[in-house]
């Protein structure tokens, strides 16, 4: 009974977010996915890693793709970043269909607009921290002195000014990831993709790293798309897109700034809790999705509870 109530709460919350969606439509859509599918062929077997996914990411938001391992989050992120090709569907980034770009234009596009943070840092072991941070600027043909200055400044921002001459192997995981973050942000990209950026870090360092990413993005109003399996990390995001089995099962807004709206939502939730009437019919597509999948519903519900507990 308790569980049912919670589900209802979520459903109500969804309704609220669907209202917010209308508000979002005024905001600039920086990434638009339309019916995106990614199928891997393993011999005769076909794995649908991303299954007919459509959503939008708005300029300046911190968006989180949340889901269990193997749910297709990384694949989705790689598709958005143009690292992998879609099987069908469209991905439009900054008004351009990235899968119509050739390798050259894509490379230029990445230089100009995209930054990346990886779970395993992906620093070049032969290079010092400073050189690693400089690396994207080398491809952008930024003059030597200028890029050195930019990289130094970036390393200062992540608090590693005393480690600039160190090679990745001589640094801790957290330090390496901070170098990674400095590298991702050094060219001041509009969009930063982060795939499990804290996956290899302990919880304290994770927190530091997340705050760093969040802080960096806020300063320049950058768009962050982060992938994680960790509900706690999802709290840093403005919006959480839940992925399961290659599909989107929900999109939620986390409201950090406007506490008033949050309380509005809570009010509504309270109301829903009082009325026990069935509201399913009036809900949007996402709800139907959930109801169509019983197994999903169970698992999903559990996660919602966890989320609630964390919030409370």
């Amino acid at each position: 009974m308790q569980v049912e109530k919670e589900v209802k709460t979520v459903l109500k919350k969804e309704k609220v977010s669907s209202e917010k969606k209308e508000k979002n439509s005024e905001r600039e859509k920086i990434i638009v996915l339309k019916g995106v599918k990614k199928v891997y062929r393993m011999g005769t077997e076909r794995i649908c890693a991303v299954d007919d996914v459509s959503f939008e990411i708005y300029k300046g938001e911190f968006c989180c793709l949340l889901g269990t391992s193997g749910s297709g989050k990384s694949t989705l992120l790689n598709l958005m970043a143009g690292i992998e090709k879609v099987s069908s569907g469209q991905i439009i980034m900054k008004g351009k269909n990235i899968h119509h770009m050739n390798e050259n234009r894509l490379a230029k596009f990445r230089q100009k607009y995209l930054g990346f943070v990886f779970q395993s840092y992906n620093l070049l072991n032969s290079m010092t921290a400073l050189e690693n941070v400089e690396f994207p600027l080398v491809f952008k043909r930024v003059p030597n002195k200028k890029r050195r200055r930019m990289a130094l400044e970036m390393l200062k921002k992540v608090g590693l000014e005393d480690r600039i001459k160190h090679k990745p192997k001589e640094m801790s995981g957290g330090q390496q990831q901070r170098v990674g973050i400095a590298r991702a942000f050094v060219a001041n990209p509009e969009i930063v993709f982060a795939d499990e950026p804290t996956g290899n870090l302990d919880s304290k360092t994770s927190k530091e790293v997340m705050e760093l990413i969040q802080g960096m993005a806020r300063v320049n109003k950058q768009t962050i798309v982060m992938v994680t399996h960790d509900n706690k990390l999802a709290e840093y995001a403005d919006r959480v897109i839940r992925v399961f089995d290659g599909k989107i099962i929900s999109i939620e807004e986390n409201d950090h700034s406007q506490k008033k709206e949050e309380s509005d939502v809570n009010d509504e939730i309270a109301q829903v809790n009082k009325e026990t009437s069935n509201e399913e019919t009036s809900n949007d597509i996402n709800n139907n999705d959930i109801n169509n999948k019983d197994t999903n519903k169970e698992e999903f519900t559990e996660e919602v509870i966890n989320l609630k507990k964390a919030e409370g």
Partner: protein
């Protein structure tokens, strides 16, 4: 990516694997040395050979003689026949491709006189405007005849050294060394018996020139004159003869004793000779005799070059192997570069640069060592080469040595080494551009 970043990165990558880079460079060094040394030996042999032949005349000259003889394909003598050499023939030979110049020549004996002493000398007469194109040597004294001053006699470098003898001396023949600057020397012709009724022709030598020492015997022992001047003198001579002899003498001026043909290049001598044959004339050249031998030396060059080439191919494979290894090692790095926005062409350039640098480095070191080796061969290799090739006659007195590195060889070798580097780096470099970024980032390393 900017070029200097590319260079920096390429160097860094090569330095990261010092041992492997060094070994690959050594492979290239060996390849370069073998190809340079093999060529230098091939050329050294050809050159010393040609030098030896050059002493007997110029390699690009064909001679058509009055008494032409025919030879078969193997160079065996078949027949001798008289050929009519006139100015028409000169004109038709001029029209043959690759012919640089044609000179109809008269050839007579001069009788030199200084007081009671006499000496003889062969004189050639040819249009003085063609002298230059036949590669006449420089002069140590005097000037060549010009259109305005044709009355000059040009002596070969050794021509004046012959002794003068007094044949009529009662104490037997005694000789005298002539002082050409002081003594009065005159000449006449002696082709016909002297006509007692007329004053004998004689011409005092006033204007003369002397040639520098030359490799060509034609310019060492004979005298040369302009054709018109010669004809003028010879006509004067003819006029002192008996009627019968005079007719013969005048007629002998209307046809040449031989025609010399200068060809633009050694390679074309045979072709020009064939063309002359089609005109119905037999001709001879030094080239004709050494052609088979040159062919042999060319084949030797090819064989030696091939040996060097094999070493080069091995080092090319070595570079390709190194580059492929390097790509395997750097898969992850390449993936990261791609994701960070590195253009495919920059990735390709980076690998090509590394490969070319290995080639260039190996080439440069190889060339330096080649000079050293070439010097050692020339200094200590004589017994070996002579016993090995059993052709000591070829090396009789040459100064060039067995191994000769031409000035162009280092450049060609260097360019070749670099091209080998780039070519063998090309496939690996392309392969690097095709690496999938996600696959690459999944790999460890």
């Amino acid at each position: 990516m900017k070029f200097n970043d590319l260079v920096k990165m390429g160097l860094r990558n090569l330095f990261r694997r010092k041992a492997r880079t060094a070994l690959t460079v050594i492979g290239m060094v060996i390849g370069t040395i073998s190809i340079v040394i093999m060529f230098s030996i091939g050329y050294g042999m050809r050159d010393s050979f040609i030098e030896q032949v050059m002493e007997n005349g110029s390699m690009t000259v064909i001679t058509v003689s009055t008494w032409g003889y025919t030879i078969d394909e193997d160079g065996n003598y078949i027949d001798t026949g008289e050929q009519k050499l006139d100015s028409d023939l000169v004109e038709s030979i001029k029209k043959i491709d690759h012919v640089k110049s044609v000179g109809g020549m008269l050839q007579k004996n001069l009788q030199l006189t200084c007081g009671k002493y006499n000496s003889g000398m062969m004189v050639y007469a040819m249009d003085s405007s063609t002298f230059e194109s036949f590669g006449f040597p420089g002069l140590t004294q005097g000037e060549y005849p010009t259109a305005d001053h044709k009355d000059i006699i040009v002596f070969g470098s050794q021509a004046r050294n012959s002794e003068f003898y007094n044949w009529g001396s009662s104490r037997g023949s005694n000789s005298k060394t002539i002082d050409w600057d002081r003594d009065t020397i005159s000449f006449t012709f002696s082709d016909y018996t002297v006509n007692e009724n007329k004053k004998a022709f004689t011409q005092v030598i006033k204007n003369y020139a002397v040639m520098e020492e030359s490799e060509n015997y034609m310019f060492n022992y004979y005298a040369w004159m302009d054709l018109d001047y010669f004809k003028e003198l010879y006509t004067k001579y003819a006029n002192t003869l008996k009627l019968e002899d005079r007719k013969k003498a005048i007629a002998s001026l209307n046809k040449f004793d031989q025609i010399q043909v200068n060809v633009d290049n050694m390679e074309n001598v045979t072709a020009v000779q064939d063309a002359i044959k089609e005109l119905g004339y037999s001709s001879s050249s030094d080239m004709q005799y050494i052609e088979p031998m040159l062919q042999t030396s060319k084949m030797l060059q090819v064989v030696l070059g091939a040996i060097g080439g094999v070493a080069m191919v091995v080092s090319a494979i070595n570079i390709a192997n190194t580059m492929i290894m390097s790509i395997y090692e750097r898969t992850k790095e390449i993936g990261i570069m791609k994701v960070l926005g590195c253009m495919l062409k920059d990735i390709r350039k980076l690998f090509l640069f590394e490969a070319a640098l290995i080639g260039l480095l190996g080439g440069a070191i190889g060339i330096m060592l080649s000079y050293l080796l070439s010097w050692l061969i020339n200094k200590y290799g004589a017994p070996l080469f002579e016993s090995l090739l059993n052709t000591s006659y070829m090396y009789g007195e040459t100064t060039g040595g067995f191994s000769r590195i031409y000035f162009w060889m280092p450049f060609v070798a260097m360019g070749f080494a670099m091209v080998v580097g780039i070519v063998s780096g090309y496939l690996p470099a392309n392969r690097a551009t095709k690496i999938s970024a996600i696959e690459a980032m999944r790999t460890e390393g």
